[in-house]
């Protein structure tokens, strides 16, 4: 099924290096999920810390997990870790201040 069964189509001199496609020209191709989830996670964890709402803190933990799962490998891990730590600290602080178990909203 090779196109040229006689001649080798490979050309060493025609090699072009890989250039990662720049995302500035087409921002629509980028998946915005990890950024949104990161932001949401931070907002929820701040809410949970300030307003002492346990469910906010738990949702923040979930958001940071989702953001991590969807992240690109080129994104630095520091941001990921910081949002993670923030959400976990929100949960821990909510429980230290008020050890009562969370009451369901229904």
């Amino acid at each position: 099924m090779a196109t040229n069964s006689f001649a080798d189509p490979r050309r060493q001199n025609k090699i072009l290096r890989y250039k990662p496609p720049s995302t500035e020209t087409n921002p629509t191709l980028e998946d915005p999920t990890p950024d949104y989830m990161n932001l949401l996670g931070m907002i929820f964890s701040m809410c949970g810390l300030m307003l002492k709402l346990k469910w906010c803190a738990w949702i923040a933990v979930y958001c940071s997990f989702i953001s991590f799962a969807n992240s690109r490998s080129s994104e630095d891990t520091k941001q990921m870790m910081s949002s993670f730590m923030l959400s976990i600290s929100a949960v821990v602080m909510s429980y230290l201040q008020n050890p009562q178990p969370m009451s369901p909203p229904w």
Binding site: A2, T25, L29, F65, S73
Partner: protein
């Protein structure tokens, strides 16, 4: 011995009255222990009573606190009563207490009802008040937290499983295609970071669900970028949404060509839905292929396929027997095939209206294939994509050979000129505005300079220079108008 008993009862009452004062509590206990040393048997009942009473204290601290003041007052009275009636011993302490209390005047003793309550509660079932949940030592009250943690654990499990599955699929794809790629390309696998262009021979993982492979070094093309766009199996949310809306993994192959490798035409074929979507989204398809997608049945393709083309000649040229054969056999796996010399990606939505210059174009062949299985793919399914990759290689060679005849070429050139003109017209107004603003800026800057000039002499001179320049401009314009008029005549 009786005095010992006397001491105990008030201490018990004190215990009830002041549960917070730990020091006194300890003292009371100490006394009790000392007394116990004397006579174990006699204190057996007391110990029971003691326990009951302390249990009461623990379970009902709030109500007890309300009547501390009245208690000490009664202690002495109680003590005296005990002295009189205590000869019976304490085997029958409960009945004895009852007799005691019934003798008393309600008015004389405040809060005696409370005492009755405590004694009654020894006989009646203990009134256990509800303890705040966090003081209970049961895990059941934390069920919401346990639910949350379980959810997190399941998310992590799903992440690991999904990541592994995607990785296995990618590896399977690469293993089945490795030979074909290595026989066709000098460079298979490059991540752009190494100094020497040496084949890495493996996929470049961009994400947990996207794998890239760059192949280069072949006749007829600059390079080929293969993107394995798998489903987000590592994300539980995505998995759940996919249960409602099934989607499949995609393999996207983008071949970039040199200028001499391809003649000027725009063409696309694929499933009807994909064609409709691409015609709206893609910059070049929307500009050059203005007709609605035609059914592929005319060219021997299955009915589910549609064709978008710049002109009929192009379709005839591309759809030769072999291509038709390929497409018909694998119609379920083909999402879209897009050949274009004006490829610039999807339409960019800009905020300030149209962009001021045409987007850069590149001669490209773009193939999008669906992996069979609708998400439930196994590594074996990757082998079925091999013929499609063969088709890609075949297309590259074919496009190099495909040349439009003279008529077609003229038409194509006209089309491109038309598109460019349209674009310039649309942006004309904007470009004029931009030029106008620039001119005004310059004038303003000059005026400011003149104003800021402190030396009056220099100021006057600069003003004159500006005026002269203005005059010149006006004269030039007049000359132009005259010329145009002469030409018109």
């Amino acid at each position: 011995m009786r005095s010992a008993y006397l001491l105990l009862v008030p201490t018990l009452l004190l215990l009830l009255a002041l549960p917070a004062s730990r020091g006194r509590y300890n003292d009371d206990f100490d006394d009790g222990e000392d007394l116990a040393d004397f006579d174990d048997n006699d204190f057996a009942e007391f110990e029971d009573m003691n326990d009951d009473l302390t249990a009461e204290t623990e379970t009902a601290p709030p109500p007890r606190v309300s009547s501390p003041s009245s208690q000490p007052e009664e202690d002495e009275d109680e003590a005296t009563v005990e002295l009189e009636d205590g000869q019976d011993g304490f085997e029958d302490s409960e009945t004895q207490d009852q007799d005691m209390y019934s003798k008393y005047d309600q008015e004389e003793f405040e809060g005696i009802g409370d005492m009755e309550k405590t004694s009654h509660s020894m006989k009646d079932p203990l009134i256990i008040h509800t303890v705040p949940a966090h003081l209970q030592n049961s895990w059941e009250s934390y069920y919401m937290e346990i639910l949350m943690v379980t959810g997190l654990l399941s998310y992590i499990m799903n992440y690991i499983i999904g990541k592994n599955k995607n990785s296995r699929l990618a590896q399977a794809w690469f293993n089945s295609h490795r030979e074909l790629l290595e026989s066709n390309f000098a460079l298979v696998g490059d991540d752009g970071t190494s100094k020497e262009p040496v084949s890495t021979g493996k996929l470049n993982q961009e994400n947990e669900h996207i794998y890239n492979l760059w192949c280069s070094g072949r006749v007829c093309c600059e390079g080929m970028l293969i993107q394995l766009k798998f489903l987000k199996r590592q994300d539980l949310l995505n998995t759940v949404t996919r249960m409602m809306r099934p989607a499949s993994d995609q393999v996207q192959i983008k071949v970039t060509l040199n200028d001499e490798d391809m003649d000027t035409f725009v063409f696309a074929v694929g499933s009807k839905k994909a064609m409709a979507r691409l015609q709206k989204e893609m910059q070049d398809l929307s500009e050059f292929c203005n007709d609605k997608p035609k059914s592929g049945a005319k060219y021997g393709l299955p009915d589910s396929m549609a064709i978008l083309s710049e002109m009929g000649e192009v379709t005839d040229g591309v759809m030769d027997n072999k291509m038709v054969h390929y497409i018909t056999n694998h119609a379920d796996k083909i999402e879209s095939i897009h050949f274009s010399d004006q490829f610039s990606g999807p339409k960019i939505m800009q905020e300030e209206g149209q962009p001021l210059k045409l987007p850069e174009t590149k001669k490209t062949l773009l193939f999008t294939f669906n992996v069979p299985g609708y998400g439930n793919t196994s590594p074996k399914d990757m082998d079925s994509l091999l013929p499609l990759t063969n088709m890609v290689i075949y297309s590259i060679d074919k496009v190099k050979k495909l040349r439009l005849n003279r008529e077609g070429k003229q038409k194509a050139d006209r089309n491109r000129a038309r598109v460019e003109e349209n674009f310039l017209k649309q942006t004309h107004a904007q470009r004029q505005e931009a030029a106008q603003t620039r001119r005004e800026e310059k004038k303003r800057a000059e005026k400011e300079r003149i104003m800021n000039e402190e030396d009056p002499e220099r100021q006057r001179r600069l003003e004159e220079a500006a005026q002269r320049r203005e005059q010149k401009k006006i004269e030039k314009k007049q000359m132009k108008m005259k010329q145009i008029k002469v030409k018109a005549m």
